[in-house]
Symmetry: C2
């Protein structure tokens, strides 16, 4: 039996009408011959309500108890979905994370999946059930309930697809797919038919919020195609998949913008062995996530080091810098908070030349000044002034024709 | 360590204020040196809300899924209580039925407890935690979630007390104890300080709603004293306990009234071996609960048989009677729906004479006609006309001085 996993987010199961619509998706797939597994999130705002209840009782609620509490939202969704499926004439059974032995580590509120009891799911599918599984939750080795953190239900769905040997996992959501860039900023953004796991991971790490990185990592590791699609419309969405030859023809799949950034520069750092390690150890101790490190040599003994951080980490970063200054000779330090980063992502970059040139040209033509440039194998990022960021994104999108589907672009883009 | 189990019903944990009050009870007991276990029900109307959600999706929801759904209400209560306890400065941990291996049979919506993993609870108590356990729920051998039915959290609490070797289980509720009779009908009803398990079981089966029979049965079987008391006041409530000598001095502990009864009479039944069995087999097949069976011989070959049923079973009983008539020679059948039953209960009856006489005398004086009389070792029941039922209860209560505590009654009562 071919197996299909369908994941429905909170907005897709928010009320009885939406639940029945989700059930109909599952029934349609079952009638096409699939063994169908539904993974569901908590209904609508249920999780927010529970979080508020918790904070009313304890401003700093213990994480284990928070996980125990929040896990109930998904259990309610799946038992109700199973009831709805039964009333629509189809056998169904719901499972909690505990019941399918979704074993995780013990890091409450952001646990990682270690194993899943696929046998119990297979057995119930073989008996003709649609199996409905609570997303977001697992248990650790001591039966404590854990949750997987932000985007956790996506991760549950792809992990279950992997454990069952399913080739595809459908993610139903309130957008109809993954776009070339954020349509709220670049209104002409085009929906992608296809994007590779690596591109999606780069875009997710650059702030594109559609899919959480860990779900995409699972898909990549176990070769599960992820189909991001609309829960209200019947159109196809975007397939996140391994690289196929046609992707190489597309130089740039998407562009991203990150506005909540700050740039920190340490100038005149004594360039001794171990100094860079010391600097980033202090930052790590303050839990500051660091990106785009650039070190430039000024003289054989002195270097400038700059890096980007999220604005939310700024206070922690400042504390770290004070510690660094006490330990290492640093001539000066600066912080720029008026900075943003525009990036283009595409596996085609590996085989095409001229991508950087085209990006810098587009920015120059739009009179956007580039502050720093960083690249990976499939990404080019430019930091720019925050007040020029949207203009920069638009210029880049137009240069790479991200306002139209890949097939309709001119060959050189 | 002496262990105390405290059970809080839905009204006692309905909001943050009441939850903190419940937590304070537990903290008080802990500070007196007890190892404290809390058992909690779902908050306020949470269960009703979930039931309504279920029926919106399926007018006949599968029982397994209903149990899965309803179990979340208690899990929310216990995780929130654990958070509240932490914020009040005390270590706490919450457990679901699954986490303490509260194993039951697989009869969904009215499962029976088979075993409990006391070790895990002991371990957490020994580590200094207040342990907070979800009432009402268990798991069967296949990890399906089960619920224990009406009054289930009381049963959970007493069963856990038994499993932990606790001597006492406190049941916090919105009344301050068990009364001699229903105070809504007999306003002068007195609170009992003490009642035996057997008396409480008789009273529960006669419709006194304070404690569910199964919780009392557990208490009796494992010698756990059950203390029914108010969640809002600091007064002592009623102890349900094994028989102690002083109970024998109290002839009648309580009186009950059941109004939702019907009496069925089968007249002129051929009195052959096996006929009675056939009659009650038919009734059982229609799931009619039968009480107070009276068979009287009219001639060596012919008998009259009457019995009481709940009004809610009346239609099923009528169907059963039609079947019975086809199989057995029955001259006539009658149904009385205008019937009620008044009973007195007391272990003192075993050693005192004149109880029946006093009861019948009180009813005669109040000009109440007695229809049938049935007795057990510690109970006398009289069926009377429904319109005379409240007058009958009052007459009986006054005769046995049930308007005052046992200690204040005259010796002969």
């Amino acid at each position: 039996m071919k197996i299909l996993v369908q994941k429905f987010g909170g907005t897709s199961v928010a009320d009885a009408v939406k639940m029945r619509r989700a059930c109909q998706r599952a029934i349609d797939a079952k009638e096409k011959g699939f063994g169908v597994v539904i993974v569901a999130s908590a209904r609508g705002k249920q999780t927010d309500v529970l979080v508020a209840d918790a904070y009313e009782l304890n401003p700093n609620p213990p994480k284990r108890e928070m996980d125990q509490l929040l896990s109930t939202g998904e259990i309610q969704s799946v038992s109700l979905l199973a009831m709805a499926l039964e009333s629509m004439g189809h056998k169904a059974i719901s499972f909690t994370g505990s019941q399918i032995r979704m074993v995780t580590d013990s890091v409450h509120t952001k646990a990682r999946i270690k194993s899943i009891d696929a046998e119990r799911i297979h057995k119930k599918l073989n008996e003709g059930n649609i199996v409905v599984i609570a997303g977001f939750q697992g248990i650790d080795e001591h039966e404590n309930i854990t949750t997987l953190g932000r985007g956790g239900s996506d991760t549950t769905a792809v992990a279950i697809a992997a454990a069952l040997g399913a080739k595809e996992c459908e993610i139903y959501t309130d957008v109809d797919g993954v776009y070339t860039t954020d349509p709220r900023i670049f209104k002409k953004a085009a929906k992608l038919d296809l994007i590779s796991y690596d591109e999606m991971l780069e875009m997710a790490s650059l702030g594109a919020g559609v899919m959480h990185s860990r779900a995409v990592e699972f898909g990549k590791k176990y070769d599960v195609t992820i189909h991001v699609r609309s829960s209200s419309e019947q159109t196809n969405g975007t397939l996140i998949t391994h690289e196929v030859p046609q992707m190489e023809d597309v130089v740039v799949s998407g562009a991203t913008i990150q506005k909540d950034m700050a740039k920190i520069g340490l100038l005149g750092v004594a360039n001794k062995p171990g100094n860079a390690a010391r600097i980033f150890t202090h930052l790590a101790q303050h839990k500051v996530v660091v990106n785009d490190i650039i070190q430039t040599e000024i003289s054989p003994d002195v270097a400038n080091i700059s890096f980007m951080i999220n604005l939310s980490d700024l206070n922690s970063a400042k504390e770290a810098i004070e510690e660094i200054k006490k330990e290492i000779s640093v001539k000066d330090a600066f912080i720029r908070e008026d900075i943003a980063e525009v990036s283009v992502v595409g596996v085609g970059m590996r085989t095409h030349y001229g991508v950087a040139e085209k990006m810098f040209g587009a920015l120059a033509e739009a009179k956007v000044n580039i502050d720093t440039i960083t690249t990976s194998e499939i990404r080019i990022s430019c930091s720019v002034s925050k007040d020029q960021a949207e203009k920069a994104l638009e210029a880049v999108c137009m240069a790479f024709e991200l306002d139209r589907p890949a097939k309709q672009r001119t060959k050189s883009s």
